[in-house]
């Protein structure tokens, strides 16, 4: 059964179309990895799914409901959660309070303060600290914990390893299977191909807002992926960066 289904999605900023004609589905319990160069439209896609930006056309179906026009906070209540790019903690709240706000939807599930502290021990150490005073990496860990607190059915992770010490990244990646075992579906946006390939059930590659490749890691060759990643030639990569200029 698919948890999320995207049909012909178009989204962008003003005249700029960052995501165009995109369709794919995420199955329940699946770890769906989304890769693509900078500016490919990954974050835009995640923001459209979670509703923090409105789409130009297309449909988003979550657990059999059409949520295309549903307000963002209602989507969260329905079971989607996003760990935003750039962490964005509540800086005047303590770490623990951040986690508690994460539980605002009141959804039932495996995640509570205790289980988060077990998953991310660093967070427990910081729990009484003011979240605004954490180092970048510390913040990232708290942000992940905060998102899990809502016990989502689908969690969207936008470049979570950005700025994290390798050891923390390793811990988080090691935790991903655990998180998933709770019946949670994950969409993971990441630059680090090799690491992604190791954990993903399915991988999709975005290029200039288009889905250019989709499949199981085992079914794809490395060459296929790299080609998809950068387009087929360097020249088209060049135009892509010009495109962002307009």
């Amino acid at each position: 059964m698919s948890v999320l289904e995207i049909k012909n999605l178009r989204a962008g900023y003003g005249d700029l179309v960052a995501v165009s004609d995109l369709s794919f589905a995420v199955q329940q319990g699946e770890l769906f990895a989304l890769v693509g160069a900078n500016g490919a439209g990954k974050s835009t896609l995640l923001k459209s799914i979670v509703g923090s930006m409105s789409v130009k056309s297309g449909t988003i179906i979550f657990k059999d409901d059409d949520i295309t026009t549903v307000a963002d906070y209602k989507r969260i209540q329905a079971g989607i959660s996003l760990v935003p790019e750039g962490r964005r903690l509540f800086t005047s709240l303590s770490v623990e309070e951040n986690l508690l706000v994460g539980a605002a939807t009141g959804r039932k599930g495996p995640w509570n303060l205790k289980s988060i502290f077990e998953l991310l021990p660093i967070v427990e150490k910081l729990k009484d600290r003011n979240a605004g005073r954490l180092s970048g990496g510390e913040q990232q860990a708290v942000a992940i914990g905060r998102s899990l607190m809502s016990n989502p059915d689908l969690i969207l992770l936008d470049e979570i390893s950005l700025g994290l010490a390798p050891i923390v990244v390793e811990q988080i990646y090691a935790a991903l299977p655990d998180i998933r075992n709770e019946g949670l579906s994950i969409i993971l946006v990441e630059q680090d191909l090799s690491r992604t390939l190791k954990v993903a059930d399915k991988i999709a590659c975005l290029l200039e807002g288009h889905l250019v490749l989709e499949g199981r890691p085992s079914d794809l060759t490395h060459q296929q992926i790299t080609d998809a990643y950068f387009g087929h030639s360097i020249a088209s990569f060049g135009t892509s960066s010009n495109g962002a200029n307009s």
């Binding site: 790019e85 180092s135 970048g136 510390e138 390798p166 050891i167 923390v168 960066s241 962002a244």
Partner: protein, 231 residues
């Protein structure tokens, strides 16, 4: 030097001496105090104890702007663009003040910095509208525009694709070859070791390792607090 925020100690009696022209990498767990270390060097944050010497001069009492004028440039981990100015004007500010240049000279220096950091295509865009990556490059461009002798870089490779990373490494190598001293914090260790001569590992506010990159990375402390088992 030492640094604390109120009761919270961040850096404890750290001493480090960097010869001119050297490129030093800094790694360490999150919250180790790396960013704080940079802030204390460039004067964004005052030291709590100890002193900072730059080119043999004691700059501990100087503000960030004075240190910038005398040649310390830095990027911010969390970018702080001048959102309402264009990318070019962002760089121009660096050239005109930190670089102490005027008129045409400042403009040329700003363009040069944009080119080096591959931001020329965005020159007329409002910096507030840039994506995260472009903001990070803008950080680099601004730091370069101040004509630094010492360049402090804070996680500028995060989030880059392989290709972009390679080009960034080339850029920084070029800077190093042109005689700029570099201190670079990065969690993308591969990128770091491709450039630096020396690697320092900070953990809990103290230097736990300092030396040849390969050796530092292989040392047991660094493996256990930072690298983990992988790689």
């Amino acid at each position: 030097m030492s640094k604390s925020y109120g009761n919270l100690g961040v850096l404890f009696d750290v001493s480090l001496s960097i010869p001119i022209g050297q490129a030093v990498g800094i790694v360490g767990p999150n919250g180790a105090g790396k960013t704080t270390f940079l802030s204390v060097i460039n004067g964004t944050e005052p030291t709590s104890a100890g002193s900072v010497f730059f080119n043999g001069t004691d700059v501990t009492k100087q503000g960030a702007e004075e240190r910038s004028r005398s040649g310390i440039g830095r990027t911010f981990q969390i970018p702080r663009p001048f959102s309402n100015l264009s990318v070019f004007e962002n760089a121009l500010a660096g050239a005109a003040f930190g670089g102490g240049l005027r008129g045409r000279e400042a403009q040329t220096a700003a363009l040069d910095a944009l080119e080096k950091s591959e931001m020329m295509q965005f020159a007329n865009l409002r910096a507030g509208g840039l994506s995260l990556l472009a903001r990070k490059r803008l950080e680099l461009a601004r730091a370069l525009s101040t004509q630094p002798k010492l360049l402090l870089l804070d996680e500028i490779a995060g989030g880059l694709t392989e290709a972009e990373c390679i080009s960034l490494i080339a850029t920084i190598k070029n800077l190093k070859d042109s005689g700029i001293t570099i201190v670079w914090i990065e969690h993308v260790v591969q990128a770091l070791v491709a450039v630096v001569d020396r690697l320092v590992c900070l953990a809990s506010g103290t230097i736990i390792q300092d030396g040849i990159p390969d050796e530092v990375l292989k040392s047991r402390e660094v493996l256990s607090v930072y690298m983990g088992t992988g790689i």
